[in-house]
Subunit: 203 residues, 2 copies
């Protein structure tokens, strides 16, 4: 039955069309300010049509966040080939920065925004997040094997590293450095990461 196949394909194409438009609009305007009606207008369909492909705005949220995590994981895979795992670990911080500042809307969605309404997460929804995290833990363990981080718990270390980089990034992404620092100091962001990377060698 080629007809049913074509129909299924068209359905997926439509879903994808909505998703891409929504992701674009979201990147441009932020998630909160991107309304179903705006998306509908852009794809030249009625708002109700969107609900034939996505249960609600929440599901759209998770679908876009999936795309974001895919891109995030791609960034993570560009980790350097350096023989020293510490060098690779330090580079990972810069990769994290790169993703966050090149895709602040995505970053917001993934690590800061709460899902708009009630949550119903698939069990494997964070799969790529976990995989990205194991890139980090993998490097940490390699570092330990190479003699770094003597006597440290790799889980705690990984969580501290993730938190630190996320902390620097999120204060910038949410424009919250002004809360405690008077002047605009973008330099502090990169210097903090460099300092942290520097410290890591001595932990």
């Amino acid at each position: 039955m080629g007809i049913n196949e074509r129909r299924e394909r068209e359905k997926q194409e439509m879903r994808n069309f909505i998703l891409r438009t929504a992701a674009d609009l979201f990147t441009e305007l932020g998630f909160e300010k991107t309304s179903i009606r705006t998306i509908a207008e852009k794809i030249e369909y009625s708002p109700a049509t969107i609900y034939l492909y996505f249960k609600d705005k929440n599901e759209l949220f998770y679908a876009i966040s999936q795309e974001a995590f895919q891109l995030f994981f791609k960034y993570f895979q560009t980790v350097s080939q350096d023989a020293d795992p510490m060098k690779r670990l330090q580079g990972l911080g810069h990769i994290y920065f790169k993703f966050a500042f090149e895709n602040p809307g995505y970053y917001d969605l993934m690590f800061i925004l709460r899902a708009p309404m009630d949550v119903e997460e698939t069990e494997d929804h964070w799969e790529l997040g976990h995989q990205s995290h194991s890139v980090l833990t993998g490097l940490v363990n390699e570092c330990i094997a190479a003699g770094y981080f003597k006597g440290r718990d790799p889980d705690v270390l990984s969580h501290l590293i993730w938190s630190t980089v996320h902390g620097i990034v999120s204060l910038k992404v949410r424009d919250r450095m002004k809360v405690y620092i008077e002047e605009e100091r973008t330099d502090l962001i990169y210097q903090s990461l460099d300092l942290f990377n520097d410290i890591l060698e001595k932990v």
Copy 2:
């Protein structure tokens, strides 16, 4: 003219009444889900009345955040009297944690949430944020004077410390640890802080 004074007093009381109710509701429901209409119902006035005392929801946002920063600064002033500035600095992290986890709604408002609409900040709006930050920089400088952090830039160090603690806190407050860690691991939070404090001595 005692009458005008009484009226001015009543006006302030009403403003305060709204503010306290709004802050309560916000702490309970979060800022986004606390509507002007809900506040109005709770104070048993019409929604329009609130607009006689606050320009818009934005102004309410900033007024509540002022209260939050006052409380935050109070917490910061409970820093220990230890002779070793490093000990005091390490204690400050725990104080930060205490504030954040005892007042997650406030923390959200201060360091994570963006103001809902257009921003019009008073110049001294972050005054208490800056003061809190100088408690940190003060301690960092004391540490340097005591022989710690040799050759490190105190501004960069302070920013790194703030970011790290904020990073740990905000991932928890926004329930985003699950993004990269499968199980619930509250222990990691405190262990990460302890590890970071431990590391600080060796920077």
